[in-house]
Amino acid sequence: MKFIDEFRDGNVAQGIARAIAAAVSPARRYNFMEFCGGHTHAIARYGLPDLLPSEVRMIHGPGCPVCVLPIGRIDLAIKLALEDGVILCTYADTVRVPASGGLSLLRAKARGGDIRMVYAVSDALKVARDHPDREVVFFAIGFETTTPPTAVAILQAASEGLKNFSVLCCHVLTPAAIMNILDSPAVAEPGAVPLDGFVGPAHVSTVIGSRPYEGFAAQFHKPVVIAGFEPLDMMQAILMLVRQVNEGRAEVENEFSRAVTREGNVKAQKLVAEVFELRPSFEWRGLGEVPNSALRIRECYGEYDAERRYTLEYVKVEDNKACECGAILRGVKRPTDCKIFGTVCTPENPMGSCMVSSEGACAAHYTYGRYKDAAVAISSHAP
């Protein structure tokens, strides 16, 4: 993995850090949102804020597929495992997400649910082939990155005539969520949370391309720089955003040109379009109902749709009242602004969505950054 080290070179990072420090205008602030949980995690894991001047603040967006999954959706998956007796295959990071009645998939497993952690949807297909006498449901979550493999699995099941496989589809769409954040009254209020630009998703953009961001970059006059997940990618993207802001530009630029094109992966887009269609509305944890922000399985593949097959009724479940996830996901508040951060709500016992996955804003801050809060607490109490 030599090629990885090149994107983590501390000396190069120092060089970009100096360029950023030289580029920022001390008279203003630069508030950038990284949409993706992958970026949030990289920022925390590599200690990126230590390399940024105080004028630049990174706001962690809602791009963590586990975090935005609403309780009601987890409840559906648990019902399938406990009441309908299916083998539920799921990505491992969903198993600790708190659901209704003190349950989670992990606890449902302990109650006898046949819940299996898989690394890819193809593993779920294999489980279905290996257990022709059982019903197997794949709990499909994720943004545009994980959607094409789910589409391929459904097409594969159809071509094999696999009758015992279906998908609980919770795939969501990035551009709709960014639009929702920019459109929200809290963000739109003058002086509320001035978002000055976005670090655009890495892997999502390899699929959808850079074009889908052009609309809102122009409409809301916000620059977007698509960046890879390596820390040097992030540093370079931040420098590009600072320059756009300084020059009054609001363009879609592509730092991740080694993987992202303007059109994206057209073949993957066609596969997705064949199997999925837009949902009129979908509930996001923290953001609420967001129109046209998620996908469902087309009727022609309805037999692979667990919602149709088991006539599942989605029931909305309210989050913990003290939870500030919505405001944090919109960048209106920081994790430490939440009263239950680090006390009632911890990675071991997450109350809100941002604490659930290591890519969530609160979990990343708790796991990698909370020593800074202690330093603040100590220094603010000093005489």
């Binding site: 894991r45 796991t367 950054g369």
Partner: protein, 348 residues
């Protein structure tokens, strides 16, 4: 078991399987113990054949540690549940500064488990025990119905002798002390994962499973004043250092660039989204000593084959919050926290 009973038919170690009678207390159980376990593992104490082993009392203090092993798969690159069950417990005794002498072993076998595999495990345990210089002095075998176990689970208890005057504990770290690591991180966990059904990516990584009592005695003989030794198993280096930080009420600052991780382990972690600092090791230790002794201790570790890659990876600092922090290779800082939840079940 001193006079081995002759049975009408020998155990079928080629095609035979564990059945319920092997745990029933009758002749079949006795035959399993004498032909499969006592042959490779026998010694004068096991041969006493009584309800308990009678051991000579030793000078010094006793150190006792116990560990259950449920690793899946049972056989993995670089080891198996038998050698792991010896190493895991020997190491827990050794990092206390003690000389491990005796082991006991409890086996929970699942009906239907191939006797050939069980024999391999017993031979592997015997080899590991011999290499570590410990004797298996007592054992127990139980059988559970098919589907109620997973092949074999092994619980071992180790007994060692700790010389007077030596006191190693997680509560002994002091600000200014230096943290040393005996070698590369994550080998065991990644070796196990590479074998799991759903993680069958090609991998040549071997588990580091090994007895560390040779290395610990070399370290103790170096004359360096050791304050803490611990083997970073489940939860990895991150969990071990957080335990020590909390026990001692200190902070620990690490240098990521100084922590040895093999490129192939790093690559596997990258692929799986894991952090080598959280991954289990079964043949590594960390040591904390006073700064003035650090070079002497490092030299002693590097002179031993199991410490050839040893490195100074950080230092102990004052910190009321007892946080473990790390300067990243990238140039930033971050916390190194406990792992939340279970990252890799049944790793040891």
């Amino acid at each position: 078991m001193s006079s081995e009973v002759k049975y009408a038919r020998r155990l079928d170690l080629k095609n035979g399987r564990v059945d319920m009678s092997h745990g029933g207390g009758g002749r079949a159980m006795l035959q399993l113990i004498s032909e499969l376990f006592a042959r490779p593992l026998g010694n004068e104490y096991l041969a006493q054949g009584d309800d308990g082993a009678c051991l000579p009392a030793a000078q010094g203090r006793l150190v006792v540690s116990t560990d259950s092993h449920v690793v899946s798969p049972l056989f993995f690159p670089g080891g198996d549940i038998g050698s792991l069950a010896v190493h895991g417990t020997v190491n827990d005794v050794a990092v206390m500064g003690a000389t491990p002498l005796y082991l006991t072993a409890g086996f929970i076998l699942e009906e239907g488990f191939p006797l050939a595999d069980l024999a391999r495990i017993a031979v592997s345990m015997a080899r590991a025990a011999q290499e570590a210089g410990v004797k298996l002095v007592a054992g127990d075998t139980k059988v559970v119905e098919q589907g109620k176990g997973d092949g074999v689970f092994i619980t071992t208890t180790g007994i060692g002798i700790l010389p007077e005057g030596l006191h190693l504990s997680g509560n002994q770290a002091r600000p200014g002390d230096v943290v040393l690591l005996s070698g590369s991180l994550g080998d065991h966990g990644v070796a196990i994962m590479s074998q799991r059904e759903n993680l069958s990516f090609a991998s040549a990584i071997l588990s580091d499973s090994a007895a560390l009592n040779g290395l610990t005695s070399a370290m103790l003989a170096s004359g360096a004043v050791l304050r803490v030794m611990r083997d970073p198993t489940r939860g990895g280096l991150a969990a071990t250092l957080n335990e020590i930080a909390q026990q001692s009420g200190v902070g620990i600052h690490l240098e990521e660039a100084a922590i040895p991780v093999k490129p192939e382990v790093e690559a596997a972690c990258e692929l799986l989204g894991l952090d080598p600092l959280n991954i289990a090791n079964e043949g590594k230790l960390i040591a904390i000593c006073a700064a003035e002794d650090a070079e002497k201790l490092l030299a002693a570790m590097r002179a031993h084959p199991q410490g050839a890659q040893a490195a100074i990876i950080g230092r102990v600092v004052e910190d009321a919050s007892a946080f473990v922090q790390m300067k990243t290779r990238f140039g930033g800082r971050r916390m190194v926290d406990w792992l939340s939840g279970e990252q890799l079940p049944r790793i040891c």
